[in-house]
Amino acid sequence: MQNNQKKNLWSFNFSTMALVLIPVSIGINYVGKLFAQTLRLPLWLDSIGTILAGILAGPWVGAISGGINNAIYGLTISPVSFAYGITSIAIGITAGVMARMGFVKSMKRAVIMGLVIAGISTVVSTPINIIFWGGQTGNIWGDALFGILRSANWPVWLASGLDELAVDLPDKIATTIIAFIIYQGLPKRITVLFEES
């Protein structure tokens, strides 16, 4: 059965460089997480690649990198990560937009970008945490905070948001700084190829 007459449902026009970058960026997310685990760092560091994809090739490529990252995780490692695809997409878009606004010109600005990414990630993740887990994140420290706040009768969304932020703030700032350092180290003749397309 050959079904090759069908037209694509939606056009998918990205440069080949950008398309090849996406799987690589997802691989980078993966090794970031792997090294963070091996070094027993108290951070995830699992979105370095998505942020790099956004910086190098713009918000849409960042978004796709984030979305497919979680889809693939969902299909191969833990189905839960499907739900958090939206968060990853938001991270990729934010990185792409802010990079275009000049936030990868200096370390200081990169830190600000990290702050914004942490904020956005929290805002997007919290509803998912509430729908899926009743507000928890699965991180021991964050969930301890959640438990304390809930016992003090704080509203779910606030307790859950702070739970998420406690996890995201250090993690996303560190992740963005690492992505920034790597970006700065890349040869100009490679980065220009992403920009031109």
Binding site: T16, L19, G27, L34, F35, T38, G135, D143
Partner: protein
């Protein structure tokens, strides 16, 4: 080197069903309990998934996936049992901590739903080779380039992680400290990940060229080397699943 996949090769009825039908099934099974959030409904769907996993002879492989979320489910019961907003009726008391019926029921509802999601996806993942899954979507209009990305991710992750462990060993042999205080470990991160990330980003340049000169951006409609095997009756099965979803929706709207 393997491709990243949890697929378990078995000879079973579930394995024979084509990927697209299974994808539709998973979609319906996952989404339904969110539309109709009753405990009985999600429990029944969960049991059906369990049955299919049995039929697919892959139940054992589900355990590690489930155990992954066991801890968080446990804490959901504890926290919601004590602090759920609608908590009223006390169920029991443990070391001066009060647990309530409403909270426990709420915890049960989200836990069963979460487990249902896990089981449904596991069913798809454990019984379908990922490449066939991707190709089946490309045949049905998913952009081939998106397909390329997914195929490529499945290869790149095992490759990069094996390179990662090579780098780890090499740096350790050169005397890099990867144990010790938090600061020492943080300092090790960039030298470990830096070279790997750099080289893989630089390689995107040549890989893109290689794809281009093999017609990657051709305007022609893509063809497939492998033929798709769809057993008889699958069309009807797909329609049945979608009708089921419609019924769930209708039920929800009427209720």
């Amino acid at each position: 080197m393997r491709s990243l996949s949890l697929y378990v090769k078995r000879d079973s009825l579930i394995h024979k069903i084509d990927p697209f039908t299974k994808i539709i099934y998973v979609f319906v099974s996952v989404i339904s309990p969110f539309i109709l959030p009753t405990l009985i409904f999600s429990t029944s769907l969960t049991l059906i998934n369990l049955l299919f996993l049995l039929l697919g002879r892959v139940v054992k492989k589900v355990l590690p996936i489930i155990s992954f979320v066991f801890i968080i489910i446990l804490t959901i019961f504890i926290i919601q049992g004590m602090f759920y907003d609608a908590n009223q009726t006390e169920l029991f008391s443990l070391f001066n901590l009060n647990f309530y019926v409403e909270g426990i029921l709420y915890a049960a509802r989200i836990s069963v739903r979460a487990i249902n999601v896990l089981l449904a996806f596991s069913l798809l993942i454990l019984t379908t080779p990922p490449t066939e899954m991707i190709e089946s979507l490309v045949r049905r209009g998913m952009p081939a380039k998106l397909g390329y990305i997914m195929h490529s991710v499945l290869q790149i992750i095992p490759m990069m992680s094996s390179n990662a462990s090579i780098i780890m060993d090499a740096q350790r042999a050169r005397g890099m400290e990867t144990e010790g205080s938090l600061w020492v470990r943080i300092k090790a991160f960039i030298p470990l990940i830096g070279p790997l990330v750099m080289s893989s980003l630089v390689n995107t340049h040549e890989r893109s060229i290689a794809l281009e000169v093999r017609g990657f951006s051709a305007a022609t409609q893509k063809t497939f080397l492998h033929q798709e095997k769809v057993p008889g009756g699958m069309k009807q099965l797909r329609i049945f699943f979608l009708l089921f979803l419609a019924a769930v929706l209708a039920w929800r709207l009427v209720l």
